[in-house]
Amino acid sequence: MQLKNRSNISKALAIASCSLLGHSAQASANTEKPDDWKVDAAIMYYGEEDRVQAVEAIGNVQKAFGDESLLDMKLVVDSLTGASASGAVAQSETQTFTRPSGNGQYETASGETPLDDTFHDTRVQASANWAETLSPVWKTNVGVNGSKEFDYFSLGLNGGVERSFNKDNTTLALSGAYTFDAIDPVGGRPVAFSSMALRADYDTEEEYRAAFDMTRMAGSEDKKTMDMMLSVTQVLSRRWLFQANYGLSSVSGYMTDPYKILSQVDDTGTTQSYLYENRPDSRLKHSFYMMTKGALDAGVIDFSYRYTTDDWDLNSHTLETHYRYYFSGRFYGQVHLRYYQQQAANFYRPFLMAGDPLPEYASADYRIGDMTTYTLGLKFGQRLSGGHEMSYRLEYYQQNPENSGFDLVGQLQDHDLFPEVKAIIAQVSYSF
């Protein structure tokens, strides 16, 4: 059978589909009944040049009960190693830092960005979701999720309703979630803006220990998040679909990163001390998202735009697109492009000046500073017999932090305080 003709491909695709509550049911050649089970699995490697490396494995299982109910379960295991920027600035001298546990220290060579490599952590996350069709126009879902890593625990509940209008051309969805997180940092939570105790400053181990303990608070901290999203999905035409969402998120509790510090420098840009960072204990975020997705004869294309803003004054714009092209009815290639631009949180500063009074909140974490990121990805997928599919994805992700308007004093001008972070993402997925 010749599949060179584009419209043949689209017909082949049209047959192999239809969602049952979002669950694809493919008629297999040998059985009359569609399979009630659907399994998706993926393993992903994320690696930054000289920094963090992570491996993540996901398994997702969907089981349909009759034609009105769907159970969706997911298990994720990820493992993180490597170093990430601590927030301290590069110096012309060698720097020594105390590890978060207080046991031992690490050094940063002259001219290098200080990276803390203490992080080796494994996280396990599990979630379950139940979706129910209540009537031809009403659908509902409820779910629970939890995750655990060495110093972190999270538990959440989510629920939503969907109402369709106009012969299912318009769908309105309202969903909400509540999440509770508890963090018990390695070495105890640092006292905000306390100065990092350095072994070299003390004569005896006991004196050092006493000083270190003064910078720590025992016990765990928690954080509560309430999310709400209003979504409208609209069929524009036979081939095009559109979605617009508004999301509101309210977070309260401990949001400081217990492992991040700021360098306090003098007029020559030379570090006098390292202070543990401090972030506000509440955050109200808004997100506005729009996307359109189109069915092409030999492919699929989507475009999306997201704008976020919050009371930390961190605003962002995201533009993203995916373009898939079917080389045959069974093999496709897909290009992914993403552009992200973020404006620094109002308490972000790359360093503190020794003479100035301490601000109420401060963080030098580049992830909340001015930043532009670019993603370029390529994915290939092949459909195998029996409705199985295998795909491979390779992406390049580059983060470009930028100076949001701070004067670099003295020796700080000789160093790159906003280095690029380059990462590779590689993933293999299988579904059946």
Partner: protein, 71 residues
Amino acid sequence: MNRTIISIAIAVSLSACSSLGVEPWEKDQLARADMALDSEKLDLALDDHIYFSKEGSSGGRSLAGGGCGCN
């Protein structure tokens, strides 16, 4: 100000939505598995996790709607 404009835009598009769309038998293309909004949900979940960890903002997507509209 921006927020007001955007919320009005969403409300207007909602009301304009009543005349847009296709007949139930014209949903063949939208019924395609690759047109479902959750068609690459593992990729989307992995991406969201990466960007949530490396950037200052998160969220936005919803997986509701679309599809063949059957049942």
